[in-house]
């Protein structure tokens, strides 16, 4: 990693890669630092993060709920199965114009794209996890006379937690991809918009600074989730 960045820096400084194509990483970092310090893009960053946050939370709630219901309703599940299998093959951005007309030009279409991309990962992983709940535990629940909701909250979901967590991780990634991608296509604010605006104006320092910002942000979030998951799994194994 360090080697790759160093090589890029060297190539840019030596002029092998022209400056209007890629600027040296050190210049990117410097420009990013200046932009963050000036607070020029704070509103955009806040807008994007809010949208991503809403998409994540909504997809988690809807996904887990839908997964739990579908798991106990086999006919519906078998009907929807082909949809699940081909869902991610469909270019979701093609629905963007439709969403704009339905939700208007505000932030909602972006959130909707993030949500649509994320929710299926949560549903699939929730189903996957619920399928692996040991039958003994369910029988115990029945012996104790627990209702559907309490069985779900007390037994099914905790058992399925590792799988749901995988779904959660994917939901975070897909929400970022969906929201930022949608901002790219059409929107008037947000990080994706700023990048495409800077690109159209040949404003390389701003563009690369924002790209670097997103890369660092997403990688940090992802790595933290990875570490958190490892820790949760380790505790589970000990218990």
């Amino acid at each position: 990693m360090v080697g790759a960045v160093g090589l890029l820096e060297l190539l840019c400084r030596l002029g092998v890669i022209p400056n209007f194509t890629v600027i040296p990483p050190s210049a990117m970092a410097q420009s990013l630092w200046k932009l963050l310090a000036s607070g020029k893009f704070n509103a955009d960053i806040a807008a994007t993060l809010t949208n991503v946050g809403i998409a994540i939370v909504a997809s988690m709630i809807v996904g887990v709920a839908a997964g739990t219901i579908l798991q106990s309703w086999p006919a519906a599940r078998r009907t929807l199965d082909p949809l699940f299998a081909t869902y991610y093959a469909v270019p979701m951005y093609a629905f963007y114009p439709l969403l704009i007309v339905i939700f208007g030009l505000g932030d909602l279409p972006q959130v909707a794209i993030g949500f649509l991309l994320a929710v299926m990962a949560v549903i699939i992983n929730t189903l996957n996890g619920l399928d692996r709940v040991p039958a003994v535990l369910l029988k115990t629940a029945r012996v104790h006379g627990l209702g559907f909701l309490r069985t779900a909250v007390r037994i099914r979901l905790p058992c399925a937690a590792p799988y749901v967590f995988t779904g959660f991780k994917l939901a975070v990634a897909y929400s970022f991809i969906g929201v930022i991608g949608a901002e790219f296509i059409t929107s008037s604010r947000g990080i994706g918009y700023e990048i495409s605006f800077a690109y159209n104006n040949f404003d390389n320092p701003v563009m690369y600074a924002m790209i670097l910002f997103i890369l660092l942000l997403v990688i940090t979030v992802n790595m933290s989730l990875h570490v958190w998951e490892k820790r949760l799994l380790a505790r589970r194994r000990r218990a």
Partner: protein, 242 residues
Amino acid sequence: MRYPLVLLVLILVVWEILYLLVGDVALRSPAATVQALKTMLGDERFPPHVLETLLAFAQGFAIAVVVGLLIGLPLGAARFAGEVAEPILVALYSIPKVTLYPVILLIFGIGMPAKVAFGAIHGIVPISIFAMNAVRNINPTHLRTARAMRLSFWATTRKVLIPAALPEVMTGIRVGFSLALIGTLLGEMFGSQRGLGHLLMQAMSLHNIERILALTLLLVVFAAGVSGILLAIDHRLHRRTS
């Protein structure tokens, strides 16, 4: 065969209801969309765009498969390198690759190479992740048996390694197919004067709903169709090995 049919009817009903709800501003009915698609397919200016997209997609996907396997298979064989590389690959997977689009455009310029590159970078990572796991999860007993039988390196590869890893690799290729297609289309949407993605973007800015829906329908049918075939192959491979 019954369940997919029910699903199809369900989708059509939801579509029709949605159409009745939002009206002509945002949507057309399923019948009108199919009609529009027919007219579009009949237009002689249309096939070159399809060809352009297919060509870009085929190249991008081919590069993604070759590079993905070249990265993934060795990483699966070398356990330590794989463990180091896995979080990096997963992080790369979760990056919104649209943000890299300006970089790719500046490097390759507008046109075919940029689209191919964009399709390829979308597909490479998932294919390499699946290929890595495929090799890593090969039952060690199989390898030991091969050694006990004194199979040569090539015989081991051909008779043991490939059949054992193929189902997982196939799953990766299936996922990579979808993503490479999305990547190619995204590439066309932002920086291209031809192809289905460009047409879609054009229809969007002209607010030509009929066109948008017809293109979307075409893409969805193509993606779902190929994905269904790959899924069937995938299932068969998995069943054979288990």
